[in-house]
Symmetry: C2
Subunit: 210 residues, 2 copies
């Protein structure tokens, strides 16, 4: 019994350790790829930065492409998680749009190296991954477009093309990865607030009443 | 006398022909680099796409880097030309901001392969070129920020951080290169108008009065 329990604990620790090391490898790889570009970074570079041999990295990831795809998946999951949670909570479209845009902008500024890789290295994904990413983006944009459409229908928002509007809004927030600096004078929250103010009041059909 | 005149004409034609071929090479190179990435495109690829030998391309451009930098310079010049012309014409800050944002957005959608290269291939420039580009971007952003500051001072615009606001506005317009399709259902003018509406009314301090 004790032995079984011991085995279970050991297995749990091993699983957690495995997840922890994978996470650390992804963080190091994202930083390296963001600053040097995907092609310049090798499994060797990642290993030596962490004080590991290359075989350790290969124990956790099949190849560099698997690391890249995991960075994309993780970034997308954080975008999606925040936004779906807010939408499920419900509320009037003006308030919901503000909240999901704020969440998106803050996510772009959290771990900026992940966002940099996400925005710059799409061409390094294989065709299957690119098609999957396109679908993910369409699904994600649709979440925003649906909130916007409800607001247009209820008369809260101007009757603008939802696809063009949402693409522009997310484009504004995504561009933060180019210049946002964690050590800069403004916090991520202050910057996100500026964009939410412009975007939400810019969409209101009766702008005086926000 | 006639011989001298003949020489002048021949030289003028030669100069124009030289400029024309350079322009054609840049257009072909921009399309190739936008679709395949800078590293995948060789002087050979450019030459064979145009039905030339490689030596013809080398007659017009020293190397691939000179072609890349010329694409960046040309794109920047068109951005700058449109915006400075509008600012020189003057007007109230609300109207001027709308006009320069519209001009910028339309420029992004004109020759989209130039914009794609401009946004994606910065890492392929050498250090001198990157420093030069950084200065060009700062100068360009300052043009927009100055218009915005005048509008804040006069009470037209909300008192938002000019740097963050302008970076976001241009970020929204620049993101068009990712998805804008010349053969899509909406014209460049219609899309630009949607963004100008959102951005300008989103900045107004008394939004009911736009």
């Amino acid at each position: 019994m004790a032995a079984t329990k011991g085995t279970a604990v050991r297995e749990r620790i091993a699983t957690q350790k495995h997840a922890f090391v994978r996470e650390e490898i992804l963080n190091v790889a994202a930083n390296l790829i963001a600053s040097q570009g995907f092609r310049a970074v090798t499994m060797d570079t990642i290993a030596s930065t962490m004080g590991y041999t290359k075989s350790v990295i290969y124990y956790y990831f099949k190849n560099k492409n698997e690391i890249l795809w995991e960075i994309f998946s993780k970034r997308y999951e954080s975008f999606l998680h925040n936004v779906t949670t807010i939408i499920e909570e419900g509320g009037d479209p003006g308030a919901v749009l503000g909240k999901i845009l704020r969440a998106h902008a803050i996510c772009v500024m959290t771990n900026p190296s992940f966002t940099a890789v996400y925005n710059r290295e799409v061409s390094e994904l294989n065709n299957t991954q690119r098609r999957k990413l396109d679908r993910m983006h369409r699904d994600y944009d649709t979440l925003f477009e649906d909130v916007f459409k409800v607001g247009v229908k209820s008369g809260t928002f101007r009757n603008l093309n939802p696809h063009v509007t949402v693409a522009g809004m997310l484009g504004m927030c995504n561009s933060l990865y180019v210049w946002y600096n964690e050590d800069g004078p403004l916090s991520a929250e202050e910057i996100a607030e500026t964009y939410v103010t412009i975007l939400c009041s810019g969409c209101l059909s009766k702008p005086g009443e926000d």
